[in-house]
Symmetry: C2
Subunit: 584 residues, 2 copies
């Protein structure tokens, strides 16, 4: 194994395979060790100061406490050994220098390059220095957003462009939306709060016409710029919505080419340039991103840069990039046991593959991060919900948890009952020392942010410690309620305490989770950067669409080749039975 080159680790299926990770001594040791850990209760170890201190790490004031994970120093040492066995550092280095680690698509994976500094060493992909490309597009975004915000660039009828509609789905939507929701209450880095408030940013993602209505119904097309986000400029939902938005602009301002030219822009690959132009969007409004940027890793490309800079000014986005860049450097250089995303990734592997926990919940104690869980859900589940290794063997070990979450304290009044008493689901608490908004209502014991954070500190202990029959007896709990009020405890969580909710630390959070995801994939020996699993559904949907069309235009029947269930459902849909509607 040591003799193989890194590139071989990434080679595709047809040559002799390295043995499965489960066959390594390092994996087997962890399996045995997990049986010991299963007997440990967090209640018995959480009081040990040296353990608490050892199971923590810090970067630029962001503090990761993982003492409530079901681990000991020995667990971590075994995980580091597995990481070395899996050549984790080499894989990280290979990704960041532009090796084509997305082997099934033959692509580099360089979202880190999106956060490079202009004077960084070149990163060359297929003979091109991508650092230069990145900064060229960023300069273009900056200039364009400033031109719009200054009123220099206006709509076809001369009005200020104050509404920004970003049309995109999946990775072209969830990341920018998460950042937008967090920026919307961020004042520290805003150049001009009034100016930011003047601009409205909305996202149109779902192909459901109701989403179109929700997004556009109260906007004036004359004041609206529509950004179409799709790497290939072929995503079915996005392109239908783009044509819908174009029609909406035309309906208001006529079908003159200047309407699309002035009111629409695109974020797409340069290889889609012809499609963009055919659509009516001029080259100067094409803001490129590249094959080496995966959709779910694209927030830091023009996908996020353009809408967010139009709404908040480029400076705020630049601070966001700076935070991500800081974590990128940390990720590449900090030793494994001080490396926040590595630690988070190793703990993810531990919980899923060795402790058998199939789910994980992310709990930002910050309303500004209300859309973070949905973004991480996509990032993690699309990356690591796989069935084969990078070399094509069917994975026979547990990988890829279901990720979900809500902001605290809201989650506490929703699914926390299950976290405390139902199936074990490792939790990730994210809290901030300083809020975006100071509020201490007259007469209250503590400020509102303190009230929020009191819960952030309390919940992990409730999960870890639980309570016992003896405690309940001592508290005078009625005997018949004791079983119902007993908490078993021993539920793992980690706490990430960061200084402040601002653009810089949002960038950090994004990069932490991107790299956490990659670490898990590297450890599991899977390709976290492709998504073949979404192809079959697209193909079948296209078949259904064509059946609908043929049937409606009298050119075909519905049924040929369909199973009776799908045929029955489809028939109900296209032939609307009046009986079924009599209750409407």
């Amino acid at each position: 194994m040591e003799m193989e080159s890194i590139r071989d680790t990434y080679s595709l299926g047809l040559k002799p395979q390295p043995k499965s990770v489960t066959a390594t001594a390092e994996w087997r040791r962890l399996k045995v060790h997990a049986r010991h850990i299963a007997k440990m209760h967090l209640r018995d170890v959480l009081g040990v100061a040296s353990r608490c201190e050892a199971l923590s790490a810090e970067f630029e004031g962001s503090f990761l406490d993982y003492s409530r994970m079901q681990v000991t120093q020995r667990t971590m040492d075994l995980l580091y050994a597995l990481a070395r066995r899996q050549r984790l550092r080499e894989k990280i280095a290979a990704m960041c220098r532009g090796d084509k680690v997305n082997v099934t698509e033959g692509r580099a994976v360089l979202h880190t390059a999106l956060r490079s500094a202009p004077d960084d060493a070149p990163i060359v992909v297929d003979g091109v220095n991508v650092v230069e490309d990145v900064h060229e597009v960023l300069r273009k975004v900056k200039a364009f957003s400033e031109a719009v915000r200054s009123g220099e660039q206006r709509g076809a009828t001369g009005r200020l462009l104050r509404n920004i509609v970003a049309v995109g789905i999946g990775g072209s939507y969830l990341g920018p939306e998460f950042v937008h929701e967090a920026f919307s209450t961020e004042q520290q880095h805003a150049v001009d709060q009034d100016l930011n408030d003047f601009y409205r940013l909305r996202f149109l993602s779902n192909v459901d016409p109701v989403d179109v209505r929700r997004t556009l119904y109260d906007l004036d097309p004359q004041e609206t710029i529509v950004i179409v986000i799709s790497k290939t400029f072929t995503t079915a939902e996005t392109m239908l919505n783009a044509r819908t938005a174009r029609q909406w602009l035309w309906d208001a301002m006529g079908k003159d080419p200047s309407v699309v030219a002035r009111h629409m822009a695109a974020c797409a690959s340069s290889s889609a340039a012809a499609r963009v132009q055919n659509f009516g969007i001029p080259p100067e409004h094409l803001f490129e991103f590249w094959d080496w940027v995966g959709g779910r890793y694209s927030v830091c490309s023009s996908v996020g840069a353009l809408p967010l800079s139009l709404k908040y000014g480029y400076g705020m986005f630049d601070r966001f990039l700076a935070g991500a860049r800081a974590v990128d450097i940390h990720f590449q250089h900090a030793p494994l046991d001080r490396n926040l995303p590595v630690l988070m990734g190793l703990l993810g592997v531990w919980n899923m593959s060795f402790m058998g926990y199939k789910t994980r919940t992310i709990l930002p104690y910050a309303e500004a991060l209300l859309k973070l869980p949905a973004h991480i859900q996509q990032l993690a589940m699309e990356s690591n919900g796989k069935r084969v290794t990078v070399t094509g063997e069917v994975v026979d070990y547990d990988i890829g948890p279901v990720d979900f979450g809500e902001p605290g304290t809201n989650g506490q009044h929703s699914f926390f009952q299950l976290l405390h008493m139902g199936q074990v689901c490792p939790a990730e608490f994210i809290g901030f020392i300083e809020s975006q908004h100071h509020l201490h209502v007259e007469g209250e014991v503590v400020a509102s942010h303190d009230e929020l954070m009191a819960n952030f500190f309390a919940q992990p202990d409730a999960l870890a410690l639980g309570n016992t029959r003896e405690q309940l007896v001592a508290e005078g709990c009625p005997p018949e309620l004791i079983p119902h009020r007993t908490f078993a405890g021993n539920r793992p969580s980690l706490s990430l305490l960061m200084p402040k909710v601002n653009a810089y630390y949002l960038g950090q959070i994004l990069a932490l989770y991107e790299h956490r995801t990659a670490v898990e994939g590297f450890m599991w020996n899977i390709n976290s950067f492709d998504q073949w699993g979404v192809e079959l559904g697209k193909k079948l949907a296209s078949d259904v669409r064509s059946r609908m069309h043929k049937f409606r235009s009298g050119k075909g029947t519905l049924s040929g080749g369909l199973n009776p269930s799908t045929h029955g459902l489809l028939k109900r849909y296209v032939i609307r039975d009046r009986d079924a509607f009599k209750h409407c």
Copy 2:
């Protein structure tokens, strides 16, 4: 067992216990049967028309197709046998007639009564006919909302009350928000669309001061009515936010009692009446709900009625109640094998307890239902995330899946990769024949709603059927990509196809899921109506709050009795290290 009365089934812990459900012949038969089913592939049975027809049921045009669940008719028969063994019908009847089936709190569970007709037979709880109480409050909501909407009832300074801020958390928030989001694009039952658009409804749930800012920053207090929703009027987050909102009103209009009297209302239990009045809200603005309404089952009480009627008019809410009522009657009277919520519940039990699937995803193909998954997540996970049976024995079988979801097609571009290729996660597809909004862009092959629904029809087949190496070879897939593009299939889902997204069918959906949840709990022999699991966290948070306060006011130290981890985190929070902030 047959000799015991229903009431005994619900008795609390101290008397001789019935044997565990796992010890029954019915449960054991299902366990054995599940081993056979594990060998069945959906690909091999989905073509059988008789099976597809058998595995479906319909109610008022709402069509449930569960032919893609990993079941046969034999599975269903065994589940019905277990349902009889678990006295499912008797438990449903007991719940609906007002027996105190929430034994640990000694309460009836009567959300069905909230949907009663005014002339329904009395349902008596502790000597009171709750049907009368329900309709008295509904009349009060109707009168009040009409007075506000007509301008008869105005703010303290004479302005129209056009902003409605609902302050509540958990069940007092998620249900109303789900319905609000769906109503917002519903025009069919709207009395006057312009009037509805004039009113703005917002929810303030999180204690995070950023949520306060997000909710209130652009509202004029003179035009705002604040509804405080908390059964006991003591929920920590809600009451702090209520005091915050009151201060905001006072700051704008002075501390005259008329300000609170005219700008605030409460949804609370009558036993909290004194607290409501002390807060400054007059009795005529207290809209009661009752001990027999659980928070997560409260949408149909004043909790939903008041904010939704203010925003949309009472008529729309009334149609919503009618839809729920129709399902309530169906639930109580339809035979098990034709009973939609019973079928959904039995399938939930099958997937979790016999097939071992720990998660479940709900996928409304309707942007209007974007908040349904969060509501169902609370409803299901808080209800059935339990550790003991109703009689206090620790549950030693799998119960309580993790529920999550997003609207389709958005989810397809997020976590569907995992659904297709990662761990098995049963999926629930909800689609509608008719959209709220018709849109067919010129030149498009199909309407936007068709495009959406093409995906609704296609995805369940992609999950169930998958594809094979042979198919890929035939399609010319490059050999090295075959393992990556092979879909194992055999992933279970159910499809619920309903006529229309409107108030009536939204009521149906709500009741279907409420009853599905209850069925699962009845089958698992747990109490789906209490939530002791949230108590410990509250207690510990209160302790942290008091430490913060004492430390800040110089009256105490942080550390006594805390474990070193919590002490360390808390110290970081209260003593802000300047070093940690230098990157901000």
